[in-house]
Amino acid sequence: MTTTETTSGSKVLGQRVLRREDPELLTGEAKFSDDLAIPGALHMAVLRSTVAHGRITSIDTSAARSRPGVVAVYTYQDLKDDWAGPMPCAWPVTADMKNPAHFPLANGNVNYVGDGVAVVVAESKTAAVDALEAIEVDYEELDPVLDLEESISDSNVIHSEIGTNLSYTWELIPNKDAVDEAFAKAAHTVSERYIQQRLVPSAMEPRSVVVVPAPFGGDYTVYSATQVPHILKVMLALTVGISETKLRVVAPSVGGGFGSKLNVYAEEVLALALARKLRRPVRWTEERSENAVATIHGRGQIQNIELAADADGKVTAVRVNLVADMGAYLQLVTPGIPLLGAFLYHGVYDIPNYSFTCRSVFTNKTPTDAYRGAGRPEATYAIERAMDALARKLGVSAVEIRKRNFIPAESFPYSSSAGLVFDSGDYLTNFNKALDMVGMDELLAEKKLRIDAGSRKLLGIGISFFVEMCGLAPSRVLASLNYGAGGWEAATVRILPTSKIQVVTGTAPHGQGHETAWSMIVAEKLGVPMADIEVLHSDTAIAPYGMDTYGSRSLAVGGTAIHIATERVLDKAKAIAAHQLEVAEEDLDYAEGIFTVKGSPDRAFPLAAAAFEAFTAHNLPDGMEPNLEASVTWDPPNFTFPYGSHIAVVEVDTETGKVDLVRYQAVDDCGNRVNPLIIEGQVHGGIAQGVAQALFEEAAYDSAGNLLSATLADYLVPSAAELPSFELGETVTPSPTNPLGVKGIGEAGTIASTPAVMNAVVDALSHLGVENIEMPASPERVWRAIDGATRR
């Protein structure tokens, strides 16, 4: 077993280095936002709408205000001058996108159960929460819009000021005539309709924010359980109307995000505005049942996908029509989520004709936004389910249909019909490895055996081969998609006077192990012990520039920035060493922290000495600035395209409809592998989350727009008891997009596993005539599908 702090030398990358983050997390020493002791802080509690759509006809806060310990109770009217503008949406995907104004508290109308109506500030959390019960609100209830297709009809418009429920229509149709022609000429077509149910992201740490003002100095420190301290700082400055120079945002230990903490939330705006107004610290931590309605939801799409294929089953065109559920308002990147999948509906297949259209609509439900994979799981689900449907139609196997359609290894870099350039890949090799590892032939035999024996426990084998675009993102590409920011990442590497190394990153880890991984990158390059390297992050006063952590971007973009900054520091150290040894830089070798003169290894100059020379600046080359430090902002030239084969094996109890996942094989290719331990952990967790969408989780609403699955007793996040151990393998195809050759792995498991499991469930039952089951494949849904098919 390798241990973290003794690791050094130039062979660190690729080792299973244990995480340096762990000891403080394992002992309870780590501080999450709600753990911070802030003397004198006021506690905030938010009264939330209990109706999905309505007009507030009266609010009486007087009883709440007079309760012991209550400092103030505010509604929209009381606070409308305490912020500079509505809540931010950073991704206006089209010029004519409709974005209704959205404030931290409802202005007249409420538009989802959970919409903020009033805020209490009190001396204790108990006083604040108890006071909520004393606020009296009357609503005139309006019919809620809950169904996407009803929404699109505009028979009932949610936001009258924009006059429609359609936020935008976005198209990617490079050549419509060619697509139409491909369908007209097709020997086979399939037309499928899939539903991406809404999901509650359910990071284990609920959201939490603490704002500490310095009323006389004018500064504010915002501690928040966020994935995006840098974006949050910019957005809070603009939204609340505070100079960016007076704001510092810190993300302490953050207990998972999965996209749900990639946002700017009403409570963050409220806490900051109220800390300014009341000149006291203000804090708020979400309850779990509050999280279910007040934190964004994921997915929420109706997907129509059609494939055209020739007589050999070679797919010639894909046509996709989505209706995407925005929820009641546009949050930070809500409208952009479908676009993150828009380019990937051909999957790993060489499909020459492409058509994608998305219509995005408002509903009286919690806003949606990024959730692990964001757009890419949806795309992968649609194409991978549809490929199985096509295989069934042609009477070929799920393996065969894929092999006939893979983008060939020799065509990389591959220009896709959707307009992307895939960096590198060898899909067939990866696929064959997965089929081998899982023992596909034996599984197929076992499946047949059970059918023949009339077993009540049928076996299903599901394949999903995914590719995703990550390493978000080339800034110019983001510009072409109207995204409101760049996709670069910043890093500073400095060698301190005592030769210890400080790395400052703009990434904002919340479980990914960046401190360990970034130390490995620097240790590899410099050949120094990892123990000598510290990684600083998630505090805008320490790391002023950053684009934060989401979209499997941190290693490919942030890691690359660190790698390049380390090279630059080493270059500067080399110049110092050459100056001291009075040789040319080209005559120096470097290894394990020591410069030596080529051919004269006894003439040496340690990196530590160069650091001290840089610090004293007594004898540096002419014109060289003191100190040994480099800052790099890396803007990637392209996305990266990780891929992999995932195979799920399920047992279906045909009497009860219960599905058990019995085996799961994944062979991922994420390019060069920095730390296999961390990679595997990301894959495990991703698989579980995607399996959860397939079999367990759903944000279900009743006909009045109440969320039925609002607690973890009703929203079925699976436990260890519902999952097997996972079997992993890998192939390694380096990415040419960055010098590390890395791609990204944070979302791979989630992207791949949902269709793998659903294909497996359908596979188990397809001989009975079952062709589709909606997610989650609950026992009742599966039982009904079997019942329906066997009655036909």
Binding site: T126, V129, D130, E133, E287, S289, E655, T656, K658, F696, A700, L708, S709, T711, A713, D714, L716, P718, S719, A721, E722, S778, P779, E780, W783, R784
Partner: protein, 271 residues
């Protein structure tokens, strides 16, 4: 979340608990708290007074009393699960206790709390119904016994009146086959449908989460006791029963599940 305010009294004896209950309109007993506290935290219950009987160690016992086993109301699920007496004499009860919640819940929750809460979706109420257990209830007026068959009255409603304390559960020893089939989506969850079968001379079958109280599958019981086949009896599992529809299952699916699980439970109990 946290409960609304309440007064807290720790009872030193059953008699003291009864006298506090008698003096209050809505005082509630608390033992392990695993039925009551979740409701209070979500503010679905807000008693003005909690009477803590959790320290009354005289109510925590499992005793072999010849033809039956007597179980103190404050016996924890964990103690039922590991009891040699129960494993030997009433194995189904030990097994069912191990199916309640999760290990941490079983370290705190008590059989008396679970039965007095009377949740039709809970495991233990249905088990004591299938076992034809007898509840021992104490009040200022003295002690009375109530058969399980008339103990569960309605949704979270039992035969216990204000001022009464469930002190003991008397469970007949079983010698025949038994089975408990709990169907749920996650191990920690309540049963979507559960079935308990006890063959002790005649066959008794009870159902979990098929109504507002634990229920007997009377039609199935009658059929099997009159010599019908397991398949025939299972088919009647939900006859006369009007199961609920919720997020996890429609009434129709619950009926179907009840038949499947009754069949499987009868098969296992007969094996």
């Amino acid at each position: 979340m946290f409960p609304s305010t309440f007064d807290y009294v720790r009872a030193g004896s059953v008699a003291e608990a009864i006298s506090i209950l008698d003096g209050s309109e809505d005082a509630k007993l608390i033992a392990g708290g695993h039925s009551l506290l979740p409701l209070m935290k979500l503010r679905l219950a807000a008693p003005s007074t909690l009477v803590d009987i959790g320290r009354l160690s005289e109510l925590s016992f499992i005793e072999d009393r010849g033809d039956h086993v007597a179980i103190g109301a404050l016996t924890r699920h964990r103690d039922l699960e590991t009891s040699a007496v129960l494993k030997n004499s009433v194995p189904i009860l030990s097994h069912v206790a191990g199916e309640v919640g999760d290990p941490a819940v079983r370290h705190r929750g008590t059989i008396g709390g679970s039965i007095a809460h009377g949740d039709g979706a809970s495991d233990l109420p249905a088990a004591v119904l299938a076992l034809d257990a007898t509840m021992v209830v104490r009040s200022a007026a003295g002690e009375r016994t109530v058969p399980a068959t008339s103990f569960f009255k309605g949704f979270l409603e039992t035969d216990l009146a204000q001022g009464e304390v469930l002190t003991e559960i008397r469970v007949p020893k079983t010698s025949g086959g038994w089975s408990y089939k709990k169907f749920n989506r996650r191990a920690q969850d309540w049963a979507i449908v559960g079935v308990a079968v006890v063959r002790n001379g005649s066959t008794r079958i009870s159902l979990v989460n098929m109504g507002s109280t634990p229920l007997r599958a009377s039609a199935s019981e009658n059929a099997i006791n009159q010599g019908a086949s397991i398949e025939e009896a299972a088919h009647l599992a939900s006859e006369g029963i009007d199961p609920p529809s919720d997020l996890n299952a429609s009434a129709e699916y619950r009926r179907h599940l009840a038949s499947v699980l009754v069949r499987r439970a009868l098969q296992e109990a007969s094996a």
